[in-house]
């Protein structure tokens, strides 16, 4: 029997994303991929998946997902207030985010709104049984490729699951919220910092910039003080012979306002790029909401590489440090199996006292 999650109510902009479609930029193919690779990475780890498994990237508001499988393990990561609906007339019950949950056939996961960020993730254990395109499941909606039919999720979509059911094991949760960092967004000058006047470069690193309403998976347009080009714009000061666009490239067209190019960015472009966001801070940018403000500070390539390696180590520590999550009175299955090897069953009482009954049928209160 086929297993699926059915989108019974669509969110705002929810797409399947993995870590991106690399290797085809030379053919004009944008990489796409998760706007916040840390959020996707944590969701996959909570669900027990390899890091590059495609999950649902939630954009602002998530869908309602009906379980059409014996069981499915989902992991939610991000500032969500999800709810679980047991059946057609059942009232919604709150669920915690930043953890995994085992859902049964007929239950509906209401992912709901994200609070204070633009991006969150839902991963399913085993991933989705969808064909990859050019080596990736990432949705690139402008060309209608990848993910589910190359587009954002819509009501009625049936997302096929790779696993028809999952065993009951301990659910996992983040021990503490991941620290995405604070303070100014770190950038590296270039590739075209010489297209800007010294005053223009100073403006860029000494001003506050606000995320405009024009912010999506392709790029984030900022509002703030105008950055002066070195040459007059009407004399080609904002035109270059097109070159490659790296993730986080900050292009400044003639109007002088910075645009940070994100996951769905085009592969090449003809505007000068004053600086590039350090990869350590791209996930932070991928979570920004219109109206939020940032400052930029310049660091070196070597510093950026070191910060990224440090962040990766912290991510791995967060994953090895996952805590066991269970409902009050629920049983700790790992301890049950481990302790069973020695002397029987372990029960966990709601008041968190562990008793070791002398026989397997004993111990209920």
């Amino acid at each position: 029997m086929s297993a699926a999650l059915k989108v019974v109510r669509a969110g705002l902009f929810d797409t399947l994303q993995d870590l991106g479609r690399t290797g085809f930029m030379a053919l004009g193919m944008p990489t796409a991929g998760a706007m916040d690779r840390i959020g996707l990475g944590l969701a996959n780890a909570l669900a027990g998946n390899p890091a590059n498994t495609a999950g649902i990237e939630i954009g602002v508001m998530g869908p309602d997902l009906l379980v059409e499988a014996d069981s499915v393990r989902v992991a939610l990561v991000g500032p969500l207030s999800p709810q679980l609906i047991d059946g057609p007339d059942a009232p919604p019950k709150p669920l915690d985010s930043d953890r995994s949950h085992l859902l049964k056939r007929g239950q509906t996961l209401r992912v709901g709104m994200i609070e204070g960020a633009s991006t969150a993730y839902v991963a399913v254990a085993g991933g989705f049984a969808l064909p990859s395109f050019m080596g990736s499941l990432s949705t690139y909606s402008r060309a209608g490729i990848g993910g589910f039919e190359g587009r954002k999720l819509a009501a009625g979509d049936l997302l096929p699951l790779a696993k028809t059911g999952v065993p009951a094991v301990n659910e996992r949760k983040l021990a503490q919220a991941f620290d995405y960092g604070s303070g100014p967004i770190r950038v590296i000058w270039g590739p075209q910092e010489d297209y800007f006047s010294e005053a223009g470069r100073k403006t860029f690193v000494e001003s506050e910039y606000r995320v405009s309403k024009e912010a999506d998976r392709m790029g984030i347009r900022f509002e703030g003080p105008v950055i002066a080009h070195a040459k007059p714009v009407d004399k080609g000061g904002a035109d270059i012979i097109s070159d490659g666009i790296a993730p986080g490239a900050i292009q400044v067209p003639g109007a002088g306002l910075p645009i940070v190019l994100m996951a769905d960015r085009q592969t090449v472009g003809g505007y000068p790029k004053i600086a590039t966001v350090a990869s350590v801070d791209l996930p932070r940018l991928g979570r920004l909401l219109p109206g939020q403000t940032v400052r930029f500070v310049a660091i070196t390539v070597e510093e950026a590489e070191a910060l990224r390696r440090d962040q990766e180590a912290r991510l791995q520590r967060a994953i090895t440090g996952f805590a066991v999550a269970r409902p009050p009175g629920g049983i700790d299955l790992v301890r049950l199996y481990e302790e069973n090897l020695i002397d029987g069953v372990v029960f966990d009482s709601p008041w968190n006292v562990t008793s070791k009954p002398s026989s397997a049928e004993g111990g209920t209160k």
Binding site: T22, A143, T276, S279
Partner: protein, 245 residues
């Protein structure tokens, strides 16, 4: 000839061969693109994710968790110093194009008027132009193809079209292009090919590659319709259009 290394954050850098558009410079870009690919296959370079050629530069993207700029840049220098085999192994591609139908070529008369030619002369000049694919970008499979006969140079239309049909063949400045999708566009439409430059059903969805030499071949409406049916059905023999490599 020296190159400039431009920083693109901590996951990429650009190797700039010059600040102008020329076949020589682009040849060196394509040669380094190929050389890095070969060095990766030979295990001489690791940590490179991909390389992105443009008219005059090559962007190298890398994984900062498995290598670093300080480690990679000298390796690229070594490859350049070793000498790059320019122009080796490029494909020669033929694109069938129907110029006859006014629906396909709505700008042909205007192009003829503005270049002081007859429409037939515009077509002949397009057919005789020695085109080369310099870069793909803007959208998947959209190729910037330079080499247009100088007599046809025109700026882009002052009023871009909101909808240019897929597979339109267009010219602007010193270039020609073929629209992979229906999209907005400001180039002059002088014909249409029955081919799809992007077809997600194909194993290699993008037909053209940077470095391809390209010529157009004139077809009539009947041939256009026949090839279009085969392309639509997925039965068209694309290899018949490609020679070399």
């Amino acid at each position: 000839m020296s190159v400039r290394y431009l920083s693109c954050g901590d996951t990429a850098f650009t190797v700039e061969f010059g600040n102008e558009i020329s076949p020589e410079i682009n040849g060196r870009v394509m040669a380094l693109h190929a050389a890095i690919g070969l060095a990766q296959e030979a295990g001489e370079i690791s940590g490179v994710v991909e390389t992105v050629p443009t008219m005059r530069s090559l962007m190298v993207t890398y994984d900062p968790l498995s290598t670093s700029r300080a480690e990679l840049q000298p390796r690229i220098d070594t490859l350049i110093a070793r000498g790059l085999p320019v122009g080796a192994g490029s494909r020669r591609v033929t694109i069938p194009c129907c110029y006859d139908d006014p629906e396909f070529a709505p700008d042909l008369a205007e192009v003829a008027e503005r270049t002081k030619k007859k429409p037939e002369q515009v077509i002949a000049a397009h057919l005789a132009s020695p085109f080369k694919v310099y870069v793909l970008g803007f959208m998947p499979g959209l190729a910037y193809v330079a080499g247009l006969d100088q007599a046809l140079f025109l700026p882009r239309r002052s009023q871009p079209r909101v909808r240019v049909p897929r597979s339109s063949v267009a010219i602007a400045m010193d270039m020609t292009t073929i629209y992979p999708f229906e999209s907005p566009g400001g180039w002059h439409l002088i014909g249409r090919t029955p081919l799809w430059m992007f077809d997600k059903r194909r194993e290699q969805p993008v037909f053209l590659s940077p470095g391809d030499s390209l010529t157009f071949e004139r077809i009539d409406r009947k041939s256009f319709d026949r090839i279009a049916r085969e392309v639509e059905a997925g039965t068209f023999d694309w290899s018949s259009l490609v020679k070399g490599k």
